[in-house]
Symmetry: C2
Subunit: 387 residues, 2 copies
């Protein structure tokens, strides 16, 4: 199995949302297609991916460094013993001639291409990616359906509390049961009113999480932690800057319910630092690395293994990014839950149109690869790469 | 003082060098020009910079995000009380709509543009940048001349030891006294032979440093530390992966002479982590952040202040990058020494042609701004941006 071309393009995400740290008005993402020489059903197998949400498109680095390295490589050096493409070897090839450190500059383009290679591998096997991952990473899940929760509760410029109420009712009506809302973007009292409104609707405090998006200075985060502890929420996400390990540890020392972090950790060393210095409590805290932004699925599986080696449980891993890539990883590795962002990230949010949300769970899609082909709006963008 | 345009282009560095971690055969850098509305000597003041060495060109991110944000901003929002451009405000403007964390992806483009703004500010004042920095950051140095050391001792494919000998003799003949050579790229015994050969030439172990470029796994780094300790070198640089703070701490616990790190730290949080968790010994270890790669000179000055708040001494700060930008910062802030890479990075290494190396020191250039105008080969590349 050989890669014969890798194509990419930048697409605007077109989201009007705002969290405590920033807005998405200029956000873009890179869509990639990895074209292989394998033919299934009379067509070349093409693997697709995009760089999840929240990080800008990174096509220049792909074009200038990562794609040429793969296309120049000896094809056999990228294959496993069965002659299939080995996504980890493709990622290692892309990392040639890269200076150590500064991972975030390359972990997104490399991780996105690596994820597309997985899509191609699973399609060449004519199996869903979650199934291939379950086999490879020993996570074969016993779940009947796959848990999903809504990432939402964004701040709205007008009638925020009423809008929050409407939004959450909509999610509950759509079959979701667990919800995460933004926090830290307004005054603490107002955030508490939002939390109380949300709790009234979702019913159980263990069904509600809050997310400060890394925006709070330590003194403000501490005030939030003290006030929020009483709500005993599912988790309090990114209270402080993502790499401020000392601040996370200080909050873990005073906030008894679970904390969560990880969508802004980009490599194995970041996760090791979190475990070693961040006060991350493996018995309760939640890890949320986003695979296509952090060198890809093989690297992500390594981080899960590191967490387990420290006594953690993969059911407390909740990969960032509400999309079919994070579904495949959640389902295939047997993680806690995937996210959903209904109606927020345009073509880049959501799941295959074959999948239904029932009582906070998704069904297992029987689609080859990641399954983007059953997301018509997104797949139309992807297909422009294979024209 | 207003910015009326910012231009950039990618230029290949054309270096054949290799260290323990990677080679430079594909390396590029971004050259930027910040065009202002200030006129001096009948010409618009233009600030220049490039993104130092070791990180690839980042023009796409500049064009797509950082430059448009500056050009769209209210010009007064980028000025200090005197109406001059405030480089820190320009950097903050560029960081709008950026997600927390993942700094390395933006600290290089933002830092490079910020450095060019400093060049323009100093030129508008018709003073050298080192002089402006000394005034602003209280580092007014008492040095008669500015210490400089050679970063070299790269591995050569043929007759490496003889080549090293020739290289060091050349540096000594050219007036340098302090030298750094690569380590960790061959077997430990061979690296020791290189160190011994170098020591024989430079004479004093406190004039020789070694640099492993972050390439050594902890077990190998530990073997190196045990063996190298006996040489009592000036410093042992980047023994392990740059963000592996636990590994740096483990080595600091067993290696008595100075360690050095920082050229792969990109933001204030990274430096805080190094001080808090990396076992960094403020009484001896060396910090080497590269200003244009780490959000620019104002952010760098903040890191120096953080080090001092932890009891460190700015004379143990040695900014990475042997160029006029690191000269201005070293001289202006009164740091330990700048680097030089004679003959290695083509147009992107070295100092103004007015400057001489005498007994391991450089003279103070009386050139407006950073002084790129007196680096003919480099300035020719920069001038293509103002055509």
């Amino acid at each position: 199995m050989r890669i014969i071309d890798i194509r990419e393009r930048a697409v605007p995400v077109r989201s009007a949302m705002r969290n405590a740290a920033f807005d998405f008005s200029e956000m873009t993402t890179s869509v990639v297609a990895v074209v292989t020489d394998v033919v299934r059903a009379g067509q070349k197998v093409i693997g697709y991916a995009f760089n999840s949400t929240g990080r800008y498109a990174c096509g220049a680095a792909m074009r200038e460094r990562f794609i040429p390295r793969v296309l120049r490589a000896n094809p056999e050096s990228l294959q496993d013993a069965q002659g299939l493409l080995d996504p980890a070897l493709v990622a290692a090839c892309m990392a040639t001639r890269e200076k150590p450190g500064g991972d975030a500059e390359r972990s997104v383009p490399i991780g996105t291409i690596e994820t597309a290679v997985w899509d191609a591998v699973a399609k060449s096997l004519e199996r869903p990616l979650w199934h291939v991952l379950a086999e490879r990473y020993g996570g074969a899940p016993g779940m009947e359906r796959v848990p999903v929760y809504v990432g939402g509760g964004w701040y709205q410029p007008h009638d925020d509390l009423a809008a929050l109420d409407r939004e959450i009712r909509g999610h509950l009506d759509a079959g979701y049961t667990h919800i995460k809302i933004k926090t830290g973007g307004v005054a603490l009292d107002e955030d508490c009113r939002r939390i109380e409104r949300a709790l009234k609707l979702v019913g159980d405090s263990k069904r509600l999480a809050v997310d400060a998006n890394g925006a709070l200075p330590l003194d403000r985060a501490t005030r939030y932690a003290k006030r929020l502890a009483g709500y005993d929420l599912r988790w309090f996400e990114e209270p402080c800057a993502p790499q401020a390990f000392g601040e996370f540890a200080a909050l873990a020392a005073i906030y008894a319910p679970p904390l969560a972090t990880g969508e802004n950790l980009f490599c194995a060393a970041d996760v090791t630092n979190l475990l070693q210095f961040g006060g991350f409590r493996v018995d309760r805290d939640v890890l949320q690395v986003d695979p296509p932004q952090a060198y890809g699925i093989a690297a992500f599986a390594g981080m899960v293994a590191t967490l387990e080696a420290h006594g953690g449980d993969r059911r407390r891993v909740f990969p960032h990014g509400g999309n079919m890539m994070s579904f495949a990883v959640t389902a295939g590795l047997g993680l806690g839950s995937c996210e959903a962002y209904p109606g927020v990230f345009g073509a880049f949010g959501g799941y295959a149109d074959t999948m239904t949300v029932i009582d906070g769970t998704l069904d297992w899609p029987d689609l080859p690869g990641i399954g983007f082909e059953r997301q018509p709006q997104l797949f139309a963008l992807m297909q422009e790469l294979s024209a």
